[in-house]
C-alpha cells in the first residue's frame, strides 16, 4: 500500500471508524485515540493487508482496541457518568432518534454489533471476523440486542 492509497483509506473510512467507536464508547477523546491507533497500525502493516480488506482491518483493530479500553476499566467510570446524564427521552418524536438514544443504554458489546450490522452493513460472517466471535454468537447477540431495543422502544412509544 502506497502513501496515496493509505491516505485514500483515511478519507474513505476514518468517519466510519470514528462513528463506530464514538457511538460504542461515547467518549470523543477515546474515539480519536482509537482512530489514530487503528490507522497507525494500518500503515505499519500496509504490506501485509490484502487489497480491498482495509476497511475490515480498520474495524477489527478498532474493535479490539475498544475491548482493551473496556478491560482496562476506563469504561466503568464513563458509564457511571453517563447514567447520571441520562434524560427523559419522551421528548424525542422521531423513532430513529429514540432508537439511537436507547441504543446507548444497551451493553457495549450489543451496541458494537448493532453498529456493525446497521451502520456499516456488514454481514454476520464479516462481523464474526471483525469481532472474533463465532457467526452463531453474533446472530444470538444481535437478536438479543434487537429484542432489548424493541422492548425499550415500545416502552417509550406507548
Amino acid at each position: 500500500m502506497s502513501a496515496e492509497e493509505y491516505n485514500e483509506c483515511v478519507y474513505k473510512y476514518s468517519d466510519n471508524i470514528y462513528r463506530f467507536v464514538l457511538k460504542s464508547l461515547k467518549d470523543e477523546g477515546s474515539a480519536k485515540d482509537i482512530v489514530q491507533e487503528s490507522f497507525l497500525r494500518l500503515w505499519e502493516n500496509r504490506d501485509k493487508i490484502i487489497k480491498g480488506k482495509e476497511k475490515s482491518y480498520l474495524f477489527t483493530v478498532a474493535y479490539r482496541l475498544m475491548i482493551d479500553d473496556i478491560r482496562l476499566g476506563k469504561r466503568f467510570m464513563r458509564d457511571v457518568k453517563y447514567e447520571d446524564q441520562q434524560s427523559d427521552v419522551s421528548h424525542y418524536n422521531d423513532r430513529q432518534e429514540i432508537l439511537r438514544r436507547v441504543l446507548e443504554e444497551v451493553s457495549v458489546q450489543y451496541r458494537e454489533l448493532i453498529l456493525l450490522r446497521d451502520y456499516e452493513d456488514y454481514s454476520y460472517k464479516e462481523i464474526s471476523e471483525i469481532t472474533n466471535l463465532t457467526e452463531s454468537q453474533v446472530k444470538v447477540y444481535i437478536f438479543r440486542a434487537r429484542m432489548i431495543l424493541r422492548k425499550k422502544l415500545e416502552k417509550i412509544m406507548i
Binding site: K23, L115, R146, L149
Partner: protein, 259 residues
C-alpha cells in the same frame, strides 16, 4: 437437518425474521414455533416492530493528522528546485569569482551574506520537511547521490556560496547528465567539475544575477507559475539567457562549479 429447540432457536431467529432460511429450514422452524407459542409471540412482536438503525452522519472533522506525506511529488519539487537553484549558484560563482562579472569581491561577499541571511528560515523549513521524508522513507537515489558527492571531496575553498553552510551535502545532487551537455554546448570555457549545491531559490538567484525583477523580465513573465518546478525551465533559462556569454577563453583555467 437442524433440529430446532429452546436452546438453539435464538441462533436462527434472525435468519427466520430476515427470511434467509431455505424451505426445509423454514418449515422446521415454523413447526418449532407452533410448539412454542411464547417464542412465536416474541418473534412476532419483534417482526412487527423490528428495530433497525439508519446510519447517522458523524464526521471526523480534521483528518490531516492521520495522513501520511506522499513522498514522490513533494520530493520531486524539492529536488528540482534545489537542483535549479544550485546550478545558478554555480553560474554565479563563475561570473563573479572568476572576474567575468562586474561585481567586486567585497560586493559579492556582502550579497552572499545577505542571501544567506534572508534564506535561512526558508532553508530550515525545507530541511525539516526533507529530514522527515528521508527518515520515513530512505531514498536509495538520495543515498547514492550523496555517496557520489562525498567521493568527489571538493575543496571547500573553491566554494563560493557554501562557506559555513551545513546544507551543502544535504542538497547535493547530480543532474549532471542532463545539464552538463547543455552547459558544455553554450559555455565557451571548459568546466572541470560540476557539482550541485542548492540553498537558494531559483527566483532569488535569477533576480540577483539578472539584476532585475524576474516578473518584469519578458523571458520569465510568462513562466512564473512554473518557476519553482524548474528542471525544464532552468534549461530554458540557460539556453535563452546564456549566463556564460561574457566568459572568455582567458577564463579557461581550472574551475570548480558547485550547483
Amino acid at each position: 437437518m437442524i433440529r430446532f429447540d429452546r436452546n438453539n432457536y435464538e441462533e436462527y431467529a434472525l435468519d427466520y425474521l430476515e427470511n434467509t432460511m431455505d424451505e426445509n429450514q423454514l418449515k422446521a422452524y415454523m413447526e418449532f414455533l407452533r410448539n412454542n407459542p411464547d417464542i412465536e409471540s416474541e418473534l412476532s412482536g419483534l417482526s412487527e416492530n423490528f428495530p433497525v438503525l439508519f446510519p447517522e452522519q458523524i464526521i471526523l472533522d480534521d483528518k490531516k493528522w492521520l495522513l501520511r506525506k506522499v513522498k514522490p511529488a513533494l520530493q520531486k519539487i524539492l529536488w528540482s528546485t534545489s537542483v535549479a537553484a544550485a546550478l545558478i549558484t554555480g553560474l554565479l560563482y563563475i561570473v563573479f569569482i572568476d572576474g567575468s562579472g562586474d561585481t567586486s569581491l567585497d560586493n559579492r561577499d556582502s550579497i552572499t551574506a545577505d542571501i544567506i541571511e534572508e534564506k535561512n528560515i526558508e532553508k530550515n523549513k525545507i530541511e525539516e520537511i526533507d529530514a522527515d521524508i528521508v527518515k520515513e522513507n530512505p531514498d536509495p537515489v538520495v543515498t547514492e547521490v550523496t555517496d557520489e558527492y562525498s567521493k568527489l571531496n571538493p575543496n571547500p575553498e573553491t566554494v563560493l556560496l557554501a562557506e559555513g553552510n551545513n546544507s551543502r551535502e544535504k542538497y547535493t545532487t547530480s543532474p549532471r547528465e542532463v545539464v552538463e551537455p547543455i552547459v558544455a554546448d553554450i559555455c565557451p570555457i571548459e568546466l572541470n567539475e560540476v557539482i550541485a549545491i542548492a540553498q537558494y531559490s531559483f527566483r532569488d538567484i535569477a533576480e540577483l544575477y539578472l539584476e532585475t525583477d524576474v516578473e518584469k523580465n519578458p523571458i520569465f513573465a510568462d513562466n512564473k507559475t512554473v518557476f519553482n518546478d524548474i528542471t525544464d525551465d532552468f534549461i530554458f533559462f540557460l539556453k535563452e539567457m546564456n549566463p556564460f556569454k561574457n566568459i572568455t577563453e582567458e577564463d579557461n583555467r581550472k574551475k570548480t562549479v558547485y550547483f
